[in-house]
Amino acid sequence: MKPAPFDYRSPASVDETLPLLGPDSTVLAGGQSLVPLLNLRLARPELVVDVNGISELDYIRSDDGPLRIGAMTRQVTLERSELVRPRWPLLHDAIVFVGHPQIRSRGTVGGSVAHADPAAELPAALVALDARIHLRSAGGARSVAAGDFFRGALYTAREPHELLVELEVPEQPEDARSGFAEHARTHGDFATAGAAVVVAPGGHAAIALFGAGPVPARANAAERALAEGADPREAAALAAEGIDGEHRRALCAELVRRAIEEATE
């Protein structure tokens, strides 16, 4: 279990990084997914660009309203952030389900989002929170709505020459509350399925399911029903509609119900 040979660079800034990116390179952030993939020789890049030395991507701030999280912020930093927990509790509730403390102390928020595992918690929370993903390349910068960013299992809207630099999470409606529920075989294991929910007075409802399909997806019909006063069980059944497999459907419905109840209790 040794990786195939590759070249290695460790630039000190975003500007130094961008010219190195392309179809034959891979960005090494926390390495919690990439390193096993390299060792299994499932990932075989020619160049590994290690961005762990880029301190300018390690921040959490909300000076101008929305929450801005630098891509190289360690998951544990987000978990412990006193800025995040009171105002975006869903991020905290989701991040504590990511692996084990050892993994979160190394894993980065940007890495988790760029990797786009269908069972990952953070992408689902970002989809529920209407976050935006900021990308930069040698040619410029752009941002993509989280709901459009995840394109398939381990596949995103990020182009090979782009670097994921920031997650921007908008301020949530007044008195918004959230709920998060997931199911895994064992503590810290990949989720079998899960749900992230945000509700607010005045008809705001966001429900994102993960692990149920290739990408975290909003359950639009269920959101509308919930906003119009459906009870959690009805909304949950709607959210799980169309999921393959009777047991899986029942499991997803139950997880959505728990997340809604947590948000509405």
């Binding site: 279990m1 040794k2 990786p3 195939a4 040979p5 096993p36 060792n39 299994l40 020789r41 199911h183 075989r185 064992t186 503590h187 810290g188 294991d189 990949f190 079998t192 047991h247 899986r248 029942a250 499991l251 419905a253 139950e254």
Partner: protein, 715 residues
């Protein structure tokens, strides 16, 4: 000068060294200039090998070894049989010749200057495979590798006239052993002295040594085996592995020191697995629910080849099919078939969890059919007088099965309730386990200054020998624990022993220590008597010290070889479980583990063994399954596909010991290494069936299975 040490919960002396990282595992040994080996393994479950093309030059590549290179250097691994049965003699080849029979089978070995280069070269090796249809279901295999059948008593007549006949079929999937430290070996050959030295992560040195001698055709005294610190095995490092043999052959062929430490993926696909048995069990009962006879057909999924000990577990299962019950007649058959999967072998429990599961689940089916409390049915049938020879021919040496069951019931606090959210059930599983047997050795030496050095033929890989054996030795000689030093694992230093498996270390190895120390003590007494001018019986140790004896006669030593028949540990386990109605999720709310391992030398370590065993038993219940897809590809080759329990899933485990001393050894000890893994699956399975209103499901008890079973139970 006696110190009461046996029976005391002494903390493990070895832990400080282990926790400080001062251990030396196989991969910590780095002989300078060693070549590193990587294996090319079959990606197919079954295929013919048409051609192997070795890569051209690659910087750092030393060479490639294929089966033909081994001609004249190594034979296939030997196969161990069992009494009164038929076992194929065809062993596992070190490298596949013209056919591969499981995905993961070694096809070639690559030697290179580093493991990374060896893996690069392994990728470049081209093997032309012609895939063949794999056989994955043991019941459908036409290739019988082992067969055993025993009938005792008028089974047919008793079934014909019985008031009740109960039939049930059960299945236990294959499990991966997953020791924390994977397998590995280093071999070095000194041509001038014709001496082969092999470091191997193994459960003992002498079975490895015998395997190397047989496979390489070398005299045993030309082989030196060193077992360093070992990070777990659970049975999987007992029998010699093809890779270890190959590493040794490669050292001889290449003239280089060769190192192989496998990665986790190799460990998953190529290390022999446990369980993989199914059984059809029938009980004949009279009107009072007394079991008159048992009939069982056991189907074992043995894999592509017989590893040296592949045949053993199913035979153990068969011999234990009467369990803790007084069943006068039995007809038990084992059919072990070839399948296109990695071979099976002994894994913690090694046939005993299967026997307990097959029998105890059938007993619960019978209780439900007869409308009688499962505990009452058990109590009516328990063996009460020991020693007791079962219908199948093993003699249980000691035990108090009724006491174990009563305690398990009391400790687990049975519960049965259902509400809108969940169903709750209680179940019990009893077991009797063969332990010990064969022989074990020890050598005791008086050190200058009066300390005691004990060399043991038994060898630890996590059990805590350094503590328990020191307790035994210190108490026998009347010295402090700190004055006893233990040595294990080096075939050039320790006496030839058997090893650590089958819950045998204390009963066999510990008893050998007792005898060696007793013999040394006698020698000391003779020296002391000479010094004081008294007879050995009259030596007053208050005025005489071992240091004086050691000074007067340096190098006093004594050795012992302790032999005994099998001893039989036993126990009763109780479990209370709850199943969520909406998801099918199973939670084990609590587990009571009552084990009778005879005299307990160290209750702290014994409890640790029980809890570790229950964790593995619960893993089997909740998540573990080494599954193959329809083409015979392993779906469990990493921790993504194969899940182990974490501390978060462990329920409270209430442990208790019943101590019925064995009459067969000086300690009165039996075995405690496997009880948790043996008793737990049966108890949890019966609790699950209780919660499901009698619907039976086999492990692992996944949400999906239980959710479907709940719907079946409710319809």
């Amino acid at each position: 000068m006696t110190a009461e040490l046996v029976g005391r919960p002494v903390r493990r002396r070895e832990d400080e060294r282990i926790l400080r990282g001062r251990t030396r595992y196989l991969d910590d040994i780095d002989p300078p200039g060693a070549a590193h080996a990587a294996f090319v393994r079959s990606p197919f479950a079954h295929a013919r090998i048409a051609r192997i093309t070795v890569p051209d030059e690659l910087a750092g590549l030393i060479g490639v070894i294929t089966a033909s290179d081994l001609d004249g250097h190594a034979r296939d691994l030997p196969v161990q049989g069992f009494e009164d049965g038929r076992v194929s003699e065809e062993g596992h080849p070190l490298l596949a010749r013209d056919e591969v029979r499981y995905a993961g089978q070694p096809v070639a070995a690559v030697l290179a200057e580093s493991r990374a280069v060896a893996e690069d070269a392994a990728e470049l090796l081209e093997v032309d495979y012609e895939p063949l249809a794999p056989v994955l279901d043991a019941r459908r295999s036409e290739d019988t590798l082992t067969h055993w059948h025993r009938v005792r008593g008028d089974v047919e007549g008793l079934f014909g006239s019985a008031a009740h006949v109960v039939r049930a079929s059960h299945s236990l999937p294959r499990l991966a052993p997953v020791p924390m430290e994977a397998r590995g070996a280093i071999a070095s050959y000194d041509q001038a002295g014709d001496m082969l030295t092999v470091w191997v992560s193994a459960q003992d040195s002498h079975r490895q040594l015998a395997g190397l001698a047989a496979v390489l055709g070398r005299p045993e005294d030309s082989i030196h085996v060193i077992v360093p610190d070992v990070g777990g095995a659970f049975g999987s490092k007992g029998a010699p592995a093809p890779e270890t043999m190959l590493v040794a052959a490669a050292a001889i062929i290449s003239g280089r020191t060769v190192k192989w430490t496998e990665d986790r993926e190799e460990n998953f696909v190529a290390s022999y697995q446990g369980r993989g048995m199914e059984a059809d069990v029938e009980l004949a009962l009279d009107d009072d629910a007394r079991i008159l006879a048992i009939r069982a057909r056991i189907h074992a999924d043995l894999g592509g080849y017989l590893m040296p000990t592949t045949a053993i577990p199913a035979h153990t299962t068969a011999m234990l099919m009467c369990g803790v019950y007084d069943i006068p007649a039995a007809d038990v058959e084992v059919v072990g078939r070839r399948t296109n999967k990695v071979p099976t072998g002994p894994y913690r429990g090694a046939g005993r969890p299967e026997a307990a599961y097959f029998l105890e689940c059938t007993v619960d089916v019978a209780a439900r059919r007869l409308g009688i409390d499962p505990l009452e049915l058990r109590r009516r049938n328990l063996i009460r007088e020991l020693p007791y020879e079962t219908a199948l021919g093993w003699t249980y040496d000691s035990g108090d099965y009724r006491r174990c069951l009563d305690l398990a019931e009391e400790l687990v606090e049975p519960e049965e309730r259902s509400d809108e959210e969940r169903v709750v059930g209680t179940g019990f599983g009893m077991y009797v386990e063969r332990a010990g047997g064969l022989f074990e050795t020890a050598e005791a030496e008086l050190l200058p200054g009066g300390g005691l050095l004990v060399r043991s033929g038994s060898s630890p890989h996590g059990q805590g020998h350094d503590t328990t054996f020191a307790q035994i030795a210190a108490e026998r000689l009347g010295v402090a624990l700190e004055d006893v030093e233990l040595r294990f694992g080096d075939s050039a230093e320790v006496p030839r022993g058997v090893g650590t498996f089958a819950s045998r270390s204390v009963a066999m190895g510990g008893s050998a220590v007792v005898q060696a120390v007793d013999a040394l003590k006698e020698k000391c007494a003779r020296v002391a008597a000479r010094l004081r001018g008294t007879s050995p019986d009259e030596v007053d140790w208050r005025s005489m010290s071992l240091a004086e004896v050691a000074g007067a006669e340096p190098g006093l030593r004594a050795s012992a070889r302790f032999e005994s028949e099998l001893v039989f540990s036993s126990g009763a386990y109780g479990a209370v479980v709850e199943i969520e109605r909406r998801t099918g999720r199973l939670r084990v709310l609590r587990l009571a583990a009552v084990d009778d391992a005879g005299t307990i030398v160290n209750p702290l370590l014994a409890e640790g063994q029980v809890i570790g065993g229950t964790a593995q038993g619960l893993g089997q219940c909740l998540v573990e399954e080494a599954a193959y897809d329809e083409e015979g590809n392993p779906t469990f080759a990493s921790f993504v596909g194969y899940s182990l329990l974490t501390a978060a899933e462990m329920p409270p485990v209430i442990t208790e010991f019943v101590e019925s001393p064995s009459p067969l050894n000086p300690l009165g000890a039996k075995g405690i290494g496997e009880g948790g893994a043996i008793g737990t699956p049966a108890a949890v399975a019966n609790a699950v069936a209780d919660a499901l209103g009698g619907v039976r499901v086999d492990p692992p008890f996944t949400e999906e299975k239980l959710w479907s079973a709940l719907r079946e139970a409710n319809s």
